[in-house]
Amino acid sequence: MHLSPDEIVLWQHGFLKLNATIAYTWGLMLVLAVGSKLVTRKLSTGLRRSRWQNLLEIVVTAINGQIAEVGLRQPEKYLGFLGSLFLFVAMASLFTIVPGYEPPTGSLSTTAALAICVFVAVPLFGIEDRGLGGYLRAYLKPTFIMLPFNIISELSRTLALAVRLFGNMMSGTMILAILLTITPFVFPIAMSALGLLTGMVQAYIFSILATVYIAAATRTRSSEPGEDD
């Protein structure tokens, strides 16, 4: 019984090691990249198009619409980062239906990595949009007294992002594992379905929170985004 797929080490050479988290991440990356490549290899610009193209168009336009809905003016600019966040987390949850699979998002290392990415991306997008001075001035608002609180908020929400996703994903697999030992056969299937739903919800929450942070950083902070959950 292990809490994280990090503990399954497949290969190690001194500092370098290949654990299940990285391996499954590579697998997901391969599936996503190759699947996209296969579908977009023969895209149709006409009125008739393949089902897979339709599916990908729906996914991409839905993500784009969500980003725009949150309030970012040019959703295409943020689509690469935010869309990839969502797709990675969603695919990681979706593949839990495959037996023997451990979602990489069930590892705190992965969720921390993703949260760090968001933590770095938010000021980058903010500076790109408003300039360095403009972005830094936002920490002094509404008054300079709020500066430490703003910094704490920045750090804590990153931590929250990482832990929330990890907790949810890990609990899903943990519950499944525990239930399998207590009540085999039917009940774990229901829990597995519930886990899928939770995974999708978490993917949505993770990416939408990242979007909100970026939106807050790129706009005048008229209102402080409330702490998540």
């Binding site: 500092f15 654990n19 977009t40 991409v60 980062f81 705190l108 290392s109």
Partner: protein
């Protein structure tokens, strides 16, 4: 320890690679395809709009043309029918006029032919009658007849009405030349004397007379001076008779012509 920092770094790298891969293989092609399709749809819609507008324009144009054509056709038709009516009327009028002219001409020809025939007939008749009468009277005329004629003449001279007698007397008296007495035969001296005395007596003056013979008188005596004449001769009678007959015939002709014209007018009325 739940966080393995090597894995964190590896996952950050993995995630960045994934972002790049998905940008490369998913978002850009899909968004490009959507843009291209939207452009195509927009252009197709614009084209359809343009075609629709053009079709509507052409339809309106065609309708206008159709209406104009209908109007033109109707006007041409009415004009043509009017013209045909007018032409028919004109032809009918012309035909009627031609028929009238022809009938009138025919009437005229008939009438003139009839007139010529009548005139010829009457002239010939008259000539024949007078030739016969003249011949008969010439055959009968003798000295005895002349004597009798002198008698009649003297009686007429005496019985002349007063105005005529005064006029003739004045003419005889004022004439520079003597009055001329013409007769068909040469008058014997005795009768000349009778005539002279009768004239003198009638006009109560010495009237100089000159006696001449004129066979064309057929029979009879004629006293004439400057423009005035007193005569009793068969030729005179015949001339008077001829004139009377001629007047009578002319009157008949005119009456006939009147009747013909009236009947012709009646015939026209039926013709209409």
């Amino acid at each position: 320890m739940l966080i393995d920092w090597f894995t964190v770094v590896a996952q950050v790298a993995n995630f960045l690679i994934l972002v790049w891969l998905l940008k490369r293989f998913l978002y850009r092609p899909i968004l490009d395809a959507i843009d291209a399709r939207e452009k195509r749809v927009a252009s197709a819609l614009a084209e359809a709009d343009a075609k629709k507008a053009e079709a509507q324009k052409e339809r309106a144009e065609f309708q206008d043309k159709n209406e104009a054509f209908d109007r033109q056709r109707a006007s041409l038709l009415s004009k043509a029918s009017d013209e045909a009516k007018a032409e028919r009327q004109r032809l009918l009028d012309a035909a009627r006029q031609a028929a009238d002219a022809l009938a009138a001409k025919r009437h005229e020809a008939l009438r003139s032919e009839l007139q010529v025939l009548g005139e010829t007939l009457s002239r010939r008749t008259r000539e024949e009658v007078f030739a016969i009468a003249r011949k008969a009277l010439a055959d009968l005329a003798t000295a005895g007849l002349e004597e009798r004629m002198v008698e009649v003449f003297t009686r007429r001279l005496r019985e002349m009405d007063v105005a005529a007698k005064a006029g003739l007397g004045q003419a005889l008296a004022s004439a520079s030349a003597p009055g001329v007495v013409r007769s068909a035969f040469d008058l014997p001296e005795a009768q000349r004397a009778v005539l002279q005395s009768a004239v003198n007596e009638a006009f109560s003056a010495e009237i100089p007379l000159r006696f001449e013979t004129a066979p064309e008188l057929v029979g009879g005596i004629e006293l004439s001076t400057d423009g005035q004449k007193l005569s009793w001769s068969i030729a005179d009678f015949l001339a008077t008779l001829e004139k009377g007959v001629g007047d009578l015939l002319k009157g008949n002709d005119m009456a006939e012509a009147g009747v013909e014209q009236a009947s012709a007018a009646k015939g026209d009325g039926h013709g209409n």
